[in-house]
């Protein structure tokens, strides 16, 4: 397959859009496919509330149920397991809060929420909200230097707390560094205890094979606009026997756990996008991985001190999303890189959460043991169905000068911060990955919502020295 050709030829070709430069931020959002757009337009023409009993309502309901069947079939779920939501964030909130409340209603001791330290904020923030408002204890499961969750720590936590754990949530693949999580191992660890596992698969569907039933997960999040559908629609796949309380109360739609008039055109377009993304996945993943591998190779050539964050697909292709590349550029700040690339017509992302446009040091990179200063100079390049070799060419053409300038700008700050350097050590001390469990004789401690680590609280885990100061920064990042 010629990777220099546009990737737009796969099933579910994207709708044509004006030239926006080299768009390398498909993990943020990716263009709607022509088929999804057509489905949206078609169904937006019709009036009919899917909850109404007359013919217009029945027609709308039929569209919703057909869409539900399509989504279910594409993702290895039963139609009754599909709960449509207004996107991935809502589905994650429903999973974390709904399962927590449902489990606690069954047994009030079940208050612990185990999540990986690299979850999206749509998982972390509801968990910490529950810690602040509903008596939950959040345990952040550590990850290794490549961002893979430490399943041994999970096993130890579960063994120590079989009676008071409400749920486990570990994402299928990370949105920033593309690390694929050992979901199967997570599910195997939790199953003996009957503890439900939620998986945020927002980044995975369309790039990886995602089969809900085969995964053994109890709940799984999908989002429309990451795979060619519209923004503002998604789904939580949830086993029928899963204790799940409602987050939105009202008309009782969607098994009574997600009230609100069903958005028929969005759901129809979502189903089309899911169907096409899954059907075209294998071919798309192969092509985009080849394009991405070339990007990584050429970034290393163009910016020799760039450090690839996350698993190296040249050695471990099965551990990373095929469309994701992520680099730290030592001595440069993310906002400088982003501005300079944007000026050159290349759109990328720092990949981390923003508050009013301010890139925060990524909690994902910090959890991986990347030093805070290095984490500030990180960029994610995420490819999609419209990506071409031209896009990569534009990036590579701009990159050497962009990195040089951004490093000069970072240096201007470092020189000025002489006092800071004296007090806190070198301003740019590069990437210092913390030892990974694989190279470490023992597992790192989990971090709890009170900011303590297992070794400090002595709650059953073998006390171990913390390899980095990460626990406090993690808990600061997500105040309980």
């Amino acid at each position: 397959m010629d990777v220099t050709a546009s990737l737009a030829e796969s099933a579910g070709a994207p709708a044509p859009s004006p030239d926006t430069g080299a768009y390398l931020d498909h993990a943020a959002t990716t263009p709607m496919t022509s088929a999804a757009l057509a489905a949206f337009a078609e169904h937006a023409r019709h009036t009919g509330n899917a909850s109404s009993l007359h013919s217009a309502g029945r027609a709308a309901r039929r569209t919703v149920e057909e869409s539900r069947e399509v989504v279910a079939r594409s993702l290895g779920a039963r139609p009754s397991e599909v709960i449509f939501t207004a996107g991935g964030t809502e589905a994650d909130n429903l999973a974390i809060k709904g399962i927590f409340w449902g489990r606690r209603a069954q047994d009030k001791r079940r208050t612990r929420i185990l999540v990986s330290a690299v979850e999206h904020h749509a998982v972390l923030d509801p968990a910490f909200w529950l810690a602040g408002h509903a008596g939950a204890q959040v345990v952040l499961l550590p990850v290794d230097a490549e961002g893979r969750v430490d399943v041994d720590t999970l096993r130890a936590e579960l063994a120590d707390h079989p009676q008071d754990t409400a749920l486990v949530s570990v994402m299928w693949a990370n949105n920033e560094v593309g690390t694929i999580q050992p979901v199967r191992d997570v599910v195997r660890a939790a199953r003996p205890y009957g503890i439900p596992v939620h998986v945020d698969a927002v980044q995975a569907v369309g790039q990886l094979e995602v089969d809900f039933a085969a995964s053994g997960a109890d709940a799984l999040t999908v989002s429309g606009h990451k795979l060619g559908g519209p923004a503002g629609v998604g789904a939580l796949l949830a086993r029928r026997d899963l204790p799940l309380d409602a987050v939105l109360h009202g008309g009782g739609q969607e098994r009574g756990v997600r009230s609100g008039t069903l958005d028929v055109p969005a759901i129809a377009a979502f189903a089309v996008a899911v169907r096409d993304a899954v059907a075209g996945r294998a071919a798309y993943a192969a092509r985009v991985a080849a394009l991405r591998d070339g990007l990584i190779e050429r970034v290393h050539d163009a910016a020799p001190d760039a450090v690839l964050c996350g698993p190296d697909p040249r050695t471990d292709p099965e551990l990373r999303l095929p469309a994701n590349a992520h680099f730290a550029f030592p001595g440069a700040e993310g906002d400088s890189l982003l501005y300079l690339l944007d000026s050159a017509g290349v759109q990328a992302s720092t990949g981390s959460a923003c508050q009013a446009g301010i890139p925060q040091p990524s909690h994902v990179l910090l959890a991986m043991g990347v030093a805070e200063d290095a984490a500030r100079g990180a960029l994610r390049f995420s490819l999609g169905p419209t990506s071409t070799a031209d896009d990569v060419d534009r990036l590579i053409a701009a990159l050497p000068q962009v990195v040089e300038r951004a490093q000069a700008a970072g240096l201007a700050g470092t020189n000025r911060g002489a006092r800071k350097t004296a007090e806190h050590g070198p301003a740019n001390d590069g990437l210092v990955p913390r030892p990974s469990p694989s190279t470490h004789p023992s597992s790192p401690p989990a971090v709890h919502s009170d900011g303590s680590s297992s070794s400090a609280t002595g709650d059953g885990l073998v006390p171990r020295p913390s390899p980095s100061a990460r626990p406090s920064s993690s808990s600061k990042e997500h105040p309980a």
Binding site: I358, A409, A412, G413, R416
Partner: protein, 382 residues
């Protein structure tokens, strides 16, 4: 030119950016985030630092059709402006955080970063003028000089807080509002362009002191340190929570238990942080006519060009507050022969000044032109 427009979200910086665009420059809007923990909405008279303000800046940039970014300078701001504010008060001096912000943030951190990223200039919404003039020195040679001048808008003139930037940074600054004689004109320019910030209220307070309560902010950050308030004879006349919170010349907030023997108003005349003592006395003790300063900054065309007497003195006017009145004085650079004399001494030639505190900026003017500035170290009556 490639111009970075610093956009706070207020009307002044929005119009400044608009004028830079209309002048034909290639303009990029940048909002500086100076705090990590920002309020969602603007409140009271703070006008720069909430998420709502960042949104206003973004909308203004959208309407001007220019790219817009938020740059996080909060760490530098905390390490320079806020740290200086605290350490100066702690040392019994009176800092001006707006001066320090211009010195360390707008015309250092932001300007240096902009320069490194390829910008030719930073445009801000300050009220001051930059003029290019030809000066003739004592040797008769002509020099083209970049000068900083007061705004024609007396009420808004910000030349006092800009003087600290010095000549080298002035060369990379643009003040598009320099010619406007009133804020109403600037608001009208905003309204004419449909900028939604045209009617936004002005900001006055120190941006990082949330509710305008400077003393409360200092107490939170420095801790309560109770001590004595004494009069000039050393007699204890009251108590305080921390000498650092007092400023020479201050009258309000002393909470003295009983009136002075002579019944006259008492003012803070000295803050002795080594003994955590606040000294109060009558108004005449505040009156000074000799001022010394350090960290002097001289604009181009001043040292070696302005005519002085045999001892190096030249006549000028000085100003010690952002919106204070200038007073006549003579001034000289100490060690004027060195490359960058960092100290200056000042003799007031007219009426004395009251309440000059160490830490304040003193700015020297010749008419509307800023000659230089220093940070007050001593003030006394001779």
């Amino acid at each position: 030119m490639k111009v970075l427009a610093a956009m706070s979200g207020g009307v002044d910086s929005a119009v400044a950016a608009a004028l830079a665009v209309e002048a034909g420059h290639d303009v990029v809007g940048v909002h500086m985030a100076l705090s990590r923990n920002r309020d969602r909405f603007r409140n009271s008279s703070r006008g720069c630092c909430s998420i709502e303000d960042a949104g206003d800046a973004r909308r203004a940039a959208d309407m001007l059709g220019i790219p817009y970014y938020v740059w996080d300078l909060s760490e530098t701001f905390e390490e320079t402006v806020v740290a200086d504010f605290l350490s100066e008060y702690e040392a019994g001096r009176t800092p001006n955080p707006c001066v320090r912000c211009n010195e360390h943030i707008k015309f250092e951190a932001l300007l240096d970063k902009a320069t490194a990223l390829g910008f030719d200039a930073v445009a801000t919404g300050h009220y001051a003028r930059i003029e290019m003039t030809t000066t003739t020195g004592p040797d008769g040679a002509d020099t083209l000089t970049r000068e900083l001048h007061r705004s024609p808008n007396d009420a808004k003139d910000q030349s006092y807080v800009l003087a600290v930037m010095g000549p080298e940074r002035l060369a990379r600054a643009m003040f598009p509002l320099g010619g406007y004689a009133s804020k109403d004109e600037v608001r009208a320019e905003a309204a004419a362009r449909g900028l939604s910030v045209s009617a936004k209220p002005d900001s006055y307070d120190i941006c990082f002191v949330a509710d305008g309560d400077t003393r409360g902010f200092l107490r939170d950050r420095l801790g309560s340190r109770p001590g004595a308030v004494v009069d000039t004879s050393g007699e204890v006349v009251g108590e305080h929570d921390g000498a650092y919170a007092f400023t020479v010349g201050q009258r309000k907030g002393l909470a003295l238990g009983r009136p002075a023997a002579d019944g006259r108003a008492r003012y803070v005349v000295d803050v002795q942080t080594s003994t955590n003592t606040v000294v109060v006395g009558p108004a005449e003790l505040l009156s000074v006519n000799r001022i010394e300063g350090d960290k002097a900054i001289w604009f181009d065309g001043v040292l070696g060009r302005i005519a002085t007497d045999a001892d190096g003195w030249f006549d000028t006017e000085i100003q010690i507050r952002a919106h204070g009145a200038p007073v006549p004085a003579r001034i000289r650079a100490k060690h004027a022969s060195t490359a960058a004399p960092s100290e200056m001494e000042i003799e007031l030639t007219g009426t004395p000044l009251r309440g000059v505190a160490a830490g304040q900026s003193v700015v020297a003017y010749a008419g509307t032109r800023v000659l230089g500035q220093a940070t007050v170290t001593h003030a006394r009556r001779a």
